[in-house]
Every structure is written in C-alpha cells, then in structure tokens.
Amino acid sequence: MPKTDLVRSAYMLVALSLMQPIYASEKFPDYPVRPAGDYAITAEQAGVTIGLQPVEDPKEQKTYFDTELTPKGVIPVFIVMQNGLTGDSFLFDKTKVTYGPADSSLSTPKMGEKAAKGAVVVGTASALAISPAGMVVAIALASKAVHGTQVQESILKKEMQSKTLSPGISAHGFLYIQVPKKGPREKIHLQIPITKASTEELVVFDLFF
C-alpha cells in the first residue's frame, strides 16, 4: 500500500514538473490590426491617420489580456497610427496624450505651434495624463488577477509606446484609460498630439468615443 502511494507521489511530481513549463509558455493573442482608416473612430490630418477601437467587451479583454479590465476601472483602447506621407516623419510622445470627459475642455495645444516651445499642456484637472499614471493603475489592477505577473507583462508588451512614424509606416498598440468601475461611463475625449519632425509643428488629433 505505501508503495502505491509512493508511485502516486512520483506521478504527481512528474505531472507538476510538466505543468509549469506549459503555464510559463502561455501566450495571449495579439489584437488584430487593420488599416487606421478602417476603424469606426478615425481622424486624419497632415497625412497621418489615427484609428481607434475601445475594447470594452469583458470577453474580448479576457481573450487578449487574460483578465477583465473594465470591472477594474480600466478600458484598453487600441490605436493605429499611419503616416501616409512619403517624405516627412512624425514623432509620437506617449506622455503628451491626454484624456477626459467629452464635455470637459482639455488644454488644447495649438495646431502648428512649435513643439520645442513646450506648447503641449498635459491636461487640466478633469483630464488625466494617460502615462505613466494610467499604465500604473492598469498594471496594479491587472496584477490582482490570476497569473498576475503574466497579465502585467502582457499589458506592458501591448502598450502603445513613444516612437517615430517614418514615411509610409504605421504603429499600433493599446492606451489604458481609467474609468469608473461601476455604472455607465461618460463619453471620453482623447487628445493625441504628434510632432512633424522636420518643422517641429504640432498636429493635434481629437477623438471621441
């Protein structure tokens, strides 16, 4: 009888040692990318198109992040930015992105103003800077979920980061927006300023969803 228990224990150990690598190699699928102009919410200026898709369905969030973010007060918003020009590059600085309720007045950077003069205002009291504050919130909340650190890493990997939009190039990723945990959310005004690299002119995109 004790011999059988020993064999069972051995089987359990083997099974556990196999389980860990499977768990470790778990991957969350990437969100499907379409051309920026194909999204329901889109804006085009100065040859650059930005399309966005808020991923609000908890089932979809579970698929792509292995956790439901809306009940935790976070909405992941998928952004695609496409530079349609052939000669000019644009600089996207994640820290310059702002959001707030649609009826609030975000401190709007003036179009065409030189970025180097510090024209970009991060936001008013009603507008929260997305990053790093939003990201920290998203990560902290996601960490509480099962497999927290893997969820956290997945959120970080998929985040839209600062980058150069070279001619003809597109970039994509998620911005994480903090919303109330309960009740219907207000319409959100998302403001994305980008800078034309050659002239340092600001191009400001206002998106509502």
């Binding site: 040692s17 860990q20 690598p21 768990y23 470790a24 590059s89 600089l91 996207f92 600085d93 994640k94 180097a116 790093p132 990201m135 990560i139 650190t149 893997q150 956290q152 890493e153 970080l156 990997k157 980061q161 600062s162 980058k163 150069t164 070279s166 001619p167 800078t195 690299a197 340092e200």
Partner: protein, 202 residues
C-alpha cells in the same frame, strides 16, 4: 558499409546545423555593423539613468526582486551601439558644447517580470527602453521605444539575487542589441548621416 558511413556523416552534419544555425541567426545575423551610420554620436548616460532600479532587494524576510537595469545598461549600451556609428562618445551630462552631430538619450519606461514556481524554472524579464535622438541644434529627430526580454532561473533563497542580476543584464543586453538594429534601420538617422556626409564633402 560505405552507405552507412555516409548516412552517419549526413546525420552528424544535420546535428551540427541544428546547433550552429540558431546561434548565428540570433547572435550575429542582425548586427548592423555592415551598415555603419556616418555620424559622430554622443551617448548620454547620466548617473540617475545608471542608478535606475525597479523593485526592492530580496531579503530573508521578504521575496522581492530588484531589477538593477540602469547599472546593466551603463555597461551594455556603449559596446552594443559602437558599431552603429562612425564615432560614439559617452557623456554623463548632455552638453551643448559637444561636437556630436547626434545626442542619444536613453530612459527606462518600465519593467515587468513573470514568476516561476520552482527554483530551477525560468522566468522572463521585460524591459522597456525609450530613446530620444537630437541633432546638433537640439531638435528631436528620432524617438523609439525598444522592448528587451530574456529568461533566467528563478533561483532559491540563496541564489535569487544573483539570478535577478543576471536576468537584468541579459534583458538589457537584448534591448541594447535591438536598439542598435533600430538605429541602424532608421530612415531619419540615415538621412542625418547622409546630410552630415554631404556637408563634410563640401
């Protein structure tokens, strides 16, 4: 007999390829040394950047992870980027009097690590490194965010800290290598290199 010998030779050749091919594809294939940018670049590694650390040190009372990515970056970045530019100097502060045509400033955005159940199981560390490149006039010409990742053993109570340091170094090294590739492939930096060459010829 001869056939048997040939078969074994083929098998051993295949075995050699199995080991050689992945190493060359990962380690050497992507190095940008063959397409050096003709720019005098300056890499700014401030003491604050070199001291960048996420988390807390592991102690006897608490299982913590300290990711000393700044320390690793200040060792790894210069050798990784040296082959990308015709000249690369390192400065500890951004200087306006420098002769550099391009000033490269790195900044860590975040890190994230998975956890492993067993001491010998491997876990992954992801580091997010942001680059800002400015020309001589101070104008930003290029920004890019690079993700570097590596896997290493979790380690037990005694080796945990050692493996955390090794993992930090490996992840940063990956980010450094990817940074070199990104810089080398950047149309904006290539344009700057071409304009610098043209001025040099004039």
């Amino acid at each position: 007999m001869l056939r048997l010998l040939n078969c074994s030779r083929v098998a051993s050749l295949c075995a050699v390829f199995l080991f050689v091919v992945p190493v060359s594809a990962h380690g050497q294939g992507a190095t940008p040394t063959d397409s050096k940018l003709n720019i005098q670049a300056e890499l700014v590694l401030t003491p604050e950047f070199c001291a960048t650390k996420y988390g807390e040190n592991h102690s006897a009372f608490k299982v913590e992870d300290a990711w000393e990515v700044g320390n690793a970056a200040c060792t790894e970045l210069e050798p990784a980027l040296k082959g990308t530019f015709s000249s690369l100097t390192v400065a500890t502060t951004p200087s306006s009097s420098s002769d550099a045509e391009l000033v490269l400033t790195p900044k860590f955005v975040n890190v994230s690590a998975t956890k492993a159940v067993w001491a010998k199981s491997k876990r992954e560390l992801l580091v997010v490194l942001e680059w800002t490149a400015k020309d001589k006039s101070g104008k930003t010409v290029w920004v890019e965010t690079i993700q570097g990742a590596a896997k290493e053993k979790e380690g037990n109570g005694f080796s945990h800290t050692k493996y955390a340091k090794v993992l930090s170094a490996k992840s940063v090294s990956d980010a450094a290598a990817k940074s070199a590739v990104a810089m080398s492939a950047s149309p904006e930096l290539r344009k700057l290199a071409n304009s610098s060459s043209a001025i040099g010829k004039d």
